[in-house]
Symmetry: C2
């Protein structure tokens, strides 16, 4: 007898969205990603397979698969026969991350982008201004990330989008201390606005130039904070 039929409806939805339920390994990876972004797992922390497997109620093999995912994103590093550790970025890594950002964001800006994608950039700018007006520092941070994501999205390249996502995820690994400074993101607001207006004015090259200076300043600031 047909009770609730999970077949047709579910498969239809899956076919429409082209995305099935995430596998358990994916969910474990997502959970760990969340804890990494929230700073619950600090750089250098060791992640023992058995512990995580027990904590999340999954098999050790599944945890292992999740680790492979995270290692590919450079969020954790594998030391053979020693375990996986939360990635810790040294001064060289900071410069490297900004090098990638310079390449990607400047290139995306130079391409100009369709009007609706430019509008998305504008929306991120306004989101940041609203967060500043409300004195919501956390919202300001996410708005800033939305801004840069929207910049990269100008290129309309899925691959560049995922690269940017990974880079931002890497940066969140060492952003916690900096976020303590309440006025940290606020100094970027005006810069974002300038870039956006230049973009809207049909001057992508000038916008790219502004972004380059922006990223250089940001890197300098980050290096000063960390850098040891």
């Amino acid at each position: 007898m047909t009770t609730t039929q999970p077949g047709p409806a579910a498969s239809a939805a899956a076919a429409r969205l082209r995305i099935a339920v995430p596998s358990v390994a994916d969910r474990v990876a997502a959970e760990l990603r969340l804890q990494l972004a929230d700073g619950e797992l600090l750089p250098g922390t060791r992640l023992t397979e058995s512990t995580i497997a027990e904590d999340l109620g999954v098999s050790r093999n599944t945890v292992r698969e999740a680790f492979a995912e995270l290692a590919a994103e450079r969020l954790v590093v594998r030391h053979p026969n020693r375990g996986v550790f939360v990635a810790s970025l040294g001064p060289g890594d900071i410069h490297d991350v900004y090098t990638v950002r310079r390449a990607i964001e400047v290139a995306a800006l130079r391409g100009g982008g369709s009007p609706e994608r430019v509008a998305a950039v504008r929306a991120a700018v306004e989101e940041g201004k609203a967060a500043a007006a409300a004195d919501d520092e956390e919202a300001l941070g996410t708005a800033n990330q939305h801004f840069h994501r929207a910049i990269v999205a100008l290129a309309g390249s899925p691959r560049l989008d995922t690269i940017m996502s990974q880079v931002l995820a890497e940066m969140r690994l060492f952003f916690h201390r900096a976020t303590v400074d309440a006025h940290f993101y606020r100094s970027y607001l005006a810069g974002n606005e300038h870039i956006c207006t230049a973009l809207e004015a049909g001057e992508p090259d000038r916008a790219a130039e502004l972004m380059l200076a922006y990223l250089d300043r940001s890197e300098q600031k980050q290096s000063a904070i960390h850098g040891g």
Copy 2:
């Protein structure tokens, strides 16, 4: 005379010398990567876990881990509950790959690069000319890859290097047919030389402009061949 310093020097040296034997999963992934690059596994081919596990004499779980690695590199795609397939690039993907290359290679060129890195670019150009003189089409292809890898290496960014490696690996997936054309790479030789001389002449912006035109032409050619 053992320097038991727990500082950065020790960890850096440890990281450098930590070239332990690759894990079995890594070796499986490497073997599959090789077969993919050689065209023994054509796009769309299904890779069944048990078959590969048996063929390579490893466990199914290990194969699964290797698949995770390859999936992260976009060389294979996972269809949940259906299996993994060799990635096949559609017209949109070709454009996307070239978008990434434009961003990365142009940015690397704009940075100029140290003299020895420029020298590496020159070496790749000469390698290509030698291969052309010897009528060795395969060597010509690898020389071309060395050239573009050397271009990206100008930036001195490990992350950009690995991104470039992955992009090139993706391209090898659909380059086999094109390689049949004996004069395919030869048309790029002069362009490479121009870019290199501009770079050596201290005109990185002009070199970047040349590279941009080069990549646009190359994408057009590829789209014409494939594109369906």
